[in-house]
């Protein structure tokens, strides 16, 4: 019975490259997937592409490829990634050049485009899911509109013989569904098999989050070797349970508990997980130990894929200005609260136009608000003042007022920092899948 070994070398755009190299070198992989595209990341990439049409792909693309391409070529490991972000075609050229420099002649790189549906959205009459307003109401503030495309296009690129497939806004699990279905001969309308592959993708797509990352809680959930956390891989056969494991002699661990946490990560109804490829049912999934750092996962089923594709819309939504300053010793919290009061009054006095101001006392109640329980006075605290504004100037004024606490505020403030940023807000809409047309073009090193 054929078994495919598929690993995940990144769970977000900035993820660790050394762990990916170890996976490529020692994972004996058939496929290495890099999932690097959060919702906001593609909007930032779109802005980069507007500034320079040769950019708009993942900033770490070149570094990652230099690290793993020779290893993957040696082993015959195919790479699938969404590092194309807003510009898969430019990313393919980057990889082509790196392959040439490394002497990897003949390497075939496929760029998958078509997820950018800005022109479709601009022409059509679509409604924003979150607000029920027409998409057109976003006007010039709309930065990007990308459909979550499924496994079909990636699988087609694999059928064409690509060694590296670079997509943009492909859905995260689809990066895994395409190679698994292709290798194991599963039809993309065999919904139970597609759901099984989707489960593999869902468990692996955050990389270290299934091997002991984002898990440790000393005394309750101890994990050894997090400084050398190994990245995950799955062994998937035509039938029977999937094995989730990781590279031997790396840090972290794969246990039923790590797999359970990741199974439910970012899941709403586990009985109906919507992807472009299927509506998967994870509610009857079983997770059982299969030896050290090996876990059996089984029991996903699927229903037919949705008729519509979700489109992620990014739009400019003003600015956020933020300042922070620390206080320590007796009375630290009182001085921080006085400082917050001064900043809020100053902003009113100066007539700084803010839509919303938030003051947090970090170390007391910044994360959980009134849920926070504090039995004793904290030794040190950090005041954080953040405000939403329409203009960059107002955002800067907010940050300035916090910094001004140095010489104008309570005693003993230290370590002030200030930041301002433009807000790229996200919304979503649905469009019929037949309006999305994917294209593949290949380049050879």
């Amino acid at each position: 019975m054929k078994t495919v070994r598929i690993g995940c070398g990144a769970g977000f755009a900035g993820d660790r490259i050394d762990a990916a190299s170890i996976l490529a070198a020692r994972g004996e992989l058939d496929y290495l997937v890099f999932e690097c595209l959060a919702e906001r990341t593609i909007a930032l990439a779109q802005q980069a592409k507007v500034r320079d049409p040769h950019l708009g792909y993942d900033p770490l693309l070149a570094a990652r490829m230099e690290a793993v391409l020779p290893l993957c070529r040696e082993r015959g490991t195919t790479i699938v990634t969404n590092m194309g972000a807003a510009n898969p075609s430019a990313a393919a050229v980057v990889v082509q050049n790196i392959a040439r420099q490394l002497g990897l002649q003949g390497l075939t790189i496929a760029a998958l485009t078509g997820d950018d549906v800005r022109s479709v959205v601009d022409r059509g009459d679509f409604t924003i899911n979150e607000t029920n307003q027409p998409v057109a109401s976003l006007g010039d503030s709309l930065v990007s509109a990308n459909a979550y495309i499924g496994a079909e296009g990636i699988r087609h690129a694999l059928e064409l013989g690509a060694d590296v497939v670079i997509a943009g806004r492909a859905a995260d699990p689809s990066l895994f569904v395409a190679p698994l279905s292709y290798e194991l001969g599963w039809s993309l309308d065999d919904w139970n098999e597609v759901a099984r592959a989707t489960l593999v993708g869902h468990l692996l797509e955050c990389a270290g989050q299934v091997t002991g990352g984002y898990f440790a809680d000393p005394g309750y959930k101890d994990v050894a070797g997090l400084d050398d956390l190994g990245f995950p891989l799955a062994e998937v056969s035509e039938r029977g349970p999937v094995v989730i494991t990781k590279v031997a002699a790396t840090g972290g661990h794969v246990t039923p508990a790590t797999c359970k946490e990741q199974l439910l990560y970012e899941i709403h109804d586990p009985g109906a997980y919507f992807t472009p490829d299927t509506v998967a049912n994870f509610s009857q999934v079983s997770i059982e130990p299969a030896g050290t750092d090996r876990v059996y996962v089984d029991g996903a089923t699927g229903k037919p894929r949705p008729a519509s594709l979700k489109v992620s819309l990014a739009y400019r939504d003003g600015f956020i200005g933020e300042g922070q300053i620390s206080y320590a010793g007796s009375g630290a919290e009182h001085r921080a609260r006085l400082a917050a009061d001064i900043v809020v009054r100053r902003l009113t006095r100066l007539g700084v136009d803010t839509q919303e101001i938030r003051c947090d006392i970090i170390g007391v109640s910044a994360l959980h608000g009134s849920l926070s329980k504090n039995d004793c006075e904290p030794y040190e605290v950090r005041l954080r003042v953040a405000a939403r504004t329409k203009s960059l100037g107002a955002a800067q004024a907010v940050a300035n007022e916090v910094e001004s606490l140095y010489t104008n505020g309570p005693a003993g403030g230290g370590g002030a920092t200030r930041t301002t940023r433009e807000v790229l807000a996200l919304a979503s809409t649905f469009i019929p899948r037949e309006l999305v047309h994917c294209d593949i073009h290949t380049v050879v090193a």
């Binding site: 439910l264 990560y265 970012e266 709403h268 101001i357 938030r358 807000a425 996200l426």
Partner: protein
Amino acid sequence: MKLRAIAHSRSGDKGTIVNISLIVFDPRHYPFIVRHVTAARVKSHFADLATGDVLRYELPRIGALNFVVHGLAGGGVTRTLALDAHGKSLSSALLEMEIDESLLG
């Protein structure tokens, strides 16, 4: 006793909606969390942080509940002024919930 003694948790966000899993360490404690960690109790636990409905899904095969908390204050991950924009730290807030040890059995 806190929930942390018998269960672990992870949260993830989709815009203004956050999910918080609750997974028992020992499968014998699953009936306890089904009975005592209700959607209504979680809604009141998070009342100051989220204004919308709380839905609960049961996964008996893995001894887990999944809570979906709507209406996270601040307008969602990309525009909120909150320090933890994603609500990723809410798993720790759920595990702070006090439970009656005498009912554990």
